[in-house]
């Protein structure tokens, strides 16, 4: 129990340090102000933990964008411009989020469907497209 608390503390301070490198333009870091994202946040007791989680989630989204071919600086700029809520909605399901512009998967799928249909119609002898299929 105690050990896990120490670990938590370590993680929290590491994260706190890395916060300094994280550029959110909402309020100067040194000012003891409650920031606007925090005001919008549900004000529960888990705020510190929530902050750590959000920081990690931002990193996840940034890493995903990088893995998807966006360069590091640009990925960072995109993530920095997202609100906490947007990050929370994205994380975990960013893979399934639609990306307008995708054509290849669709066309491949269409061809596969057409191929399957023609194979079936070939098999039942309605069409004769593929010579490798024995017709009834």
């Amino acid at each position: 129990m105690r050990r896990s608390r120490n670990l938590q503390r370590l993680v929290a301070s590491l994260v706190a340090v890395s916060f300094c490198f994280f550029s959110i333009v909402v309020a100067p870091v040194q000012a003891a102000m409650v920031t606007t994202p925090d005001i919008f946040q549900v004000q529960d007791n888990g705020l510190a933990r929530e902050k750590v989680r959000l920081f990690l989630q931002r990193q996840d989204v940034g890493n995903y964008l990088q893995a998807m071919g966006v360069d590091k600086q640009e990925a960072q700029a995109r993530v920095d411009t997202m609100t906490n809520e947007e990050v929370r909605m994205l994380v975990n399901k960013i893979d399934q989020m639609p990306a307008g512009g995708d054509g290849l998967g669709f066309v491949l799928a269409v061809f596969i469907v057409v191929f399957v249909v023609l194979v079936i119609t070939d098999i039942i002898g309605v069409t004769d497209v593929f010579t490798f299929i024995k017709k009834r």
Binding site: I24, V25, V26, A27, P28, A31, A32, M33, V34, T35, T36, P37, D38, I39, F40, Q43, D44, N45, L47, A48, L65, A67, M68, G69, V70, E74, A77, R78, D80, T81, M82, T83, E85, E86, L90, I94, M97, P98, A99, G100, G101, D102, G103, L104, F106, V107, A109, V110, F111, V113, V114, V117
Partner: protein, 330 residues
């Protein structure tokens, strides 16, 4: 067989035309898919609320058309609405901001952050009512459509620039077609599969018609995070007028004013927030901090102590504020 395909094929080509990538040769194939899926054309209809008070037809002027290149419906759509909003820009210039190479497309969040990074308020919305009201008010909207099927998606961004309820048509800048009329029913099929997601990119002087306090404030916060702090002050200020009872609007305004070093204005915002919610610890803390910076140390100290007495998750911050003030008093 062929006569059965033809009407279906015609219908599908109406859903958005030359899509993001491919020419018309694909449509007979889609027709085959539709034919075998059977259910795609049987989703329920749409209805328009007569109380919306919108004209029977409307057309947004000043929306340029940019024909899209392969996979680039996102940058093209955003370039159209940004240019309309007073940020002249070409799709090519937006590609690095919104496109995600390995996904061969643009994520919704890419469009949102892309708009913010060009100083425009990105306001997502849902549903036909909002769409028609915004278009009637003269704003173009980006819509996410699935031109394919639910299980065989073909995601696409188009820009709605008009509608005609009598003719039951929506007018789109889409793909390679400018001002393309699409049947409302077909449009709704494709848009419903995109969760009826729409996006406005507005100059901060304009508020969305369908605006809701929290969503609007978060959109403005996004703009502030993109570095447009002065615009955020303007927009938070509009929110404070629009929703005079919103404590969050006053606080967000105060923080943005503080970020611009407009200290007396920020003080006033936090004081207003405190009038609305006299036990608001964060408002007391931020007010105390700013008063401390302005050298009004006695008032600041009293305010910081008041904040500490409210407790809550930010108490460590309140204590730090008090320490800062006490240090200045020495």
């Amino acid at each position: 067989m062929l006569p059965t395909f033809l009407p279906l094929s015609k219908n599908v080509s109406g859903t958005g035309g030359k899509i993001c990538r491919y020419g018309t040769q694909i449509f007979p194939l889609i027709a085959v898919v539709l034919f075998f899926s059977g259910c795609a054309l049987m989703t329920p209809g749409y209805s328009i609320d007569p109380s919306l008070g919108i004209p029977a037809s409307a057309q947004v002027s000043g929306v340029p058309f940019f024909a899209q290149e392969a996979y680039q419906c996102g940058p093209a759509a955003l370039a159209m609405t940004l240019t309309w909003s007073g940020v002249p820009i070409q799709p090519d210039e937006l590609v690095p901001f919104v496109y995600t190479p390995e996904r061969k497309g643009s994520l919704q969040n890419g469009l949102i952050t892309g708009a913010r990074r060009h100083g425009r308020l990105a306001y997502p919305f849902h549903g036909l009512d909002c769409l028609l009201r915004e278009v009637a008010a003269g704003r173009p909207a980006i819509v996410l459509q699935n031109l394919g099927l639910k299980w065989l998606p073909k995601w696409h961004y188009a820009v709605v620039i008009g509608y005609d309820l009598d003719a039951r048509q929506i007018v789109l800048h889409t793909g390679r077609s400018a001002m393309r009329p699409v049947g409302l029913r077909t449009f709704m099929h494709t848009w419903r599969r995109g969760d009826q997601w729409g996006l406005l990119t507005l100059p901060v002087a304009d508020m969305p018609i369908c605006s809701e306090t929290s969503a609007y404030l978060k959109s403005v916060l996004g703009l502030q995070q993109a570095g447009y702090v002065a615009d955020a002050v303007t927009a938070f200020g509009k929110a404070a007028v629009q929703w005079p009872q919103s404590v969050e609007a006053r606080m967000a305004l105060g923080n943005a004013q503080y970020a611009l070093d407009r200290l007396p204005a920020a003080v006033e915002s936090f004081q207003r927030a405190l009038e609305l919610d006299p036990s608001n610890g964060p408002a007391m803390n931020n007010l105390a901090h700013i008063l401390g910076e302005m050298g009004q140390l006695d008032t600041a100290e009293a305010m910081a102590r008041r904040a500490i007495s409210t407790g809550g998750p930010f108490i460590d911050l309140y204590r730090q504020t008090l320490d800062d003030i006490l240090r200045k008093m020495k």
